[in-house]
């Protein structure tokens, strides 16, 4: 187990910054998620931590040791790739044993460790098969076993669930997090899927254009976004942003906090005239699409709630004052975070 840290880390491809001076440190044994849209530099950052990509500038530290100049095999890391990257010509057993062979372990010790890892991941039955004879979920577990077998100090996972179908992904999320909790190894997990990030991460680092916009627990990221990018990247549908002419700011609020105004609500609530265009019934919930002034806004309710809004009508909706976030109109930065910086 170890702390992973990057300092002022940058990577430029032909002058374009893929990763732009990032400072980030994990806690020991933490499940840290790098979240961002495609092309935001999260995979490049992970590959630099793994030693697969030399940084243009800056340093990578693992367990307090600068490893920037070390090759991947000297870093005591294990990586799981999006494609799983199993060796197609080897059996499952030999795939898992490969890092042990490379480390020069005796045959008996190799066998013991492969059995142990295969047992943890429940793939004992497939050890003689080739990767092409396995399903996506089984391949993913073989890739995890291969990562686990040499007891690395850090796991680097690059979108390991993106090749699974939606149903399988939910259970794989559960398995993966349980597995990480059991082995307690520091894990850096790259994904563009906010559900994965929110559901599994101890902390999430939200990235955009090679920079980190915010690092925090899922709660902090969702409820207390540092800027409009984070506010709109997380949440589905995203946070509503309404320009406030009086203050020259952007007011942000989550669709689930936007409900019809009632006379007994009192001063604690801020009222908005809401013009509803359309409603969507999604089984568990219901969405209203409409406008506040010129700005689009969405409201979300449990499907069984007795909200009665006529399409095409304008009614008073309200948001609790505590649930309103204020952002700078041009920079998009939060104005009311009590001095906390991202």
């Amino acid at each position: 187990m170890a702390v992973v840290e990057v300092r002022e880390l940058s990577k430029r491809f032909d002058g374009v910054a893929a990763v732009d001076g990032i400072d980030l440190a994990s806690a020991d044994g933490e499940f840290l998620v790098l979240l961002g849209p495609s092309g935001c530099g999260k995979t490049t950052l992970l590959r630099m931590i793994g030693g697969l990509e030399p940084p243009t500038s800056g340093d990578v530290l693992i367990g307090g040791r600068v490893v920037t100049a070390l090759p991947p095999r000297a870093r005591q890391i294990a990586m799981v790739f999006q494609s799983y990257a199993l060796y197609p010509h080897m059996t499952v057993y030999n795939n898992i044993a490969f890092p042990l062979k490379a480390a020069g372990l005796p045959k008996s010790e190799q066998a013991r460790r492969v059995d142990w890892a295969a047992g943890i991941l429940g793939i004992d039955a497939y050890l003689d098969r080739k990767p092409r004879q396995l399903s996506g979920g089984q391949r993913q577990r073989v890739a995890l076993a291969r990562a686990l077998v040499r007891e690395p100090t850090v796991f680097l996972l690059d979108e390991p669930l993106s090749n699974l179908d939606a149903q399988r992904r939910a259970s794989a999320r559960d398995e993966l997090q349980g597995f990480q909790r059991r082995v307690g190894t520091t894990t850096i997990y790259v994904t563009h899927d906010q559900v994965e990030a929110m559901g599994m991460g101890d902390r999430i680092a939200v990235m955009e254009q090679g920079r980190i916009r915010q690092v925090g627990t899922p709660h902090e990221i969702y409820d207390d976004p540092a800027d409009t990018f984070v506010a709109t990247f997380l949440g589905s549908p995203p946070m509503n942003l309404i320009p406030d002419v009086a203050s020259g700011e952007l007011l942000g609020f989550r669709p689930e906090h936007f409900i019809p105004w009632q006379p007994e609500m009192g001063d604690d609530w801020v009222r908005f005239p809401y013009h509803v265009h359309r409603t969507e019934y999604l089984g568990a919930e219901r969405l209203l699409y409409g406008q506040v002034g010129e700005a689009k806004a969405v409201a979300r309710f449990p499907a069984n709630s007795a909200i009665d809004t006529e399409i095409g009508s304008t009614t008073e909706f309200a948001v609790r004052r505590n649930d309103l976030k204020r952002f700078h109109l041009e920079t998009g930065l939060r104005l009311d975070r009590n001095g906390r910086r991202p």
Binding site: P72, A78, L86, Y87, F98
Partner: protein
Amino acid sequence: MSAGARVDAATLPGTRQGRYWLDRESVLGPVLLLPAVIYIVALVGIPLVLAVLYSLSDVTIGDQSIDFVGLKNFRDVINNSTFRTALQNTFVFTIVSQAVVLVLANILALVLSADFKGKRLVRFLVLLPWTTPIALGVLGWLWTLDSVYSPIDYVMRQVGLLGVGSPLGPDWFGTNSLWLAYPDRARLSVLIVHVWRTLPLATVILLAGLTAIPQDVKDAANVDGAGFFRQLFAIRIPLLVPIMMVAVLYGIVFTFTDLIVVFILTRGGPFDSTQVLATWAYFKGIEGGSLGQGAAIALFLFPVLVGVAALMLRIAKRAETV
């Protein structure tokens, strides 16, 4: 389809039943295949049948009537000591040159898959021998191996490998190597030219195979702690084996059936020591006028080529099913 619909279709302007006959696969397929079939029958099928007929007859250039003599041509050929030399040479040239090509092509492909300045130029230069017409390339080699003006000899003289006191032994004490005058040196020369000629294609094929290995797999091997040689022998080469087979089979066909290298370099000499089946068939059948014997010699190439073709088809089939 209802009768009404058919009437409607027929009344559409410009629609006639006959216009779309080429759209039918049962028509289009044979039409597209026909040129290839004609080509193969005319240039492969008919000559092959003729060769079998000739080999069983006493046909010569002077008397082209086909009178069957059974297996007499084959018996005569086998009893000729030159046949054994030619057969042995054909196999030795093919096997040794392809073994060397396999090793060199692997090294070259690895080098060319790395990033370095001037890579495109080096790739171009490596490919050149393959793009040169074989006859021209071999003529170049004929001059390079010239008994008097050979630049190889010049270099060897400069570094002291040729001339009195050569460390290679008394055989190299002369002022020239006379590459094509001694049987061993002549055979070595033919081998070198074969390697030179088939190496580029094998390299390009292996290079394509190398780039087809997913970057993730190479990265995984890196992270898993494999050094260069473990990655090479445990990951890259095993993954390249199918494509190596393709390269080697091409090389075998080119080398096994080759006539030009020996024909231009040595004309089978000295004393028939570099004769191969293809050249000997030519000298016997065309220059010697004994078409029947020439055909019989050439037919000895057939079983090996059938085997190679069968292997190729198997590889192609396996590639299709993956």
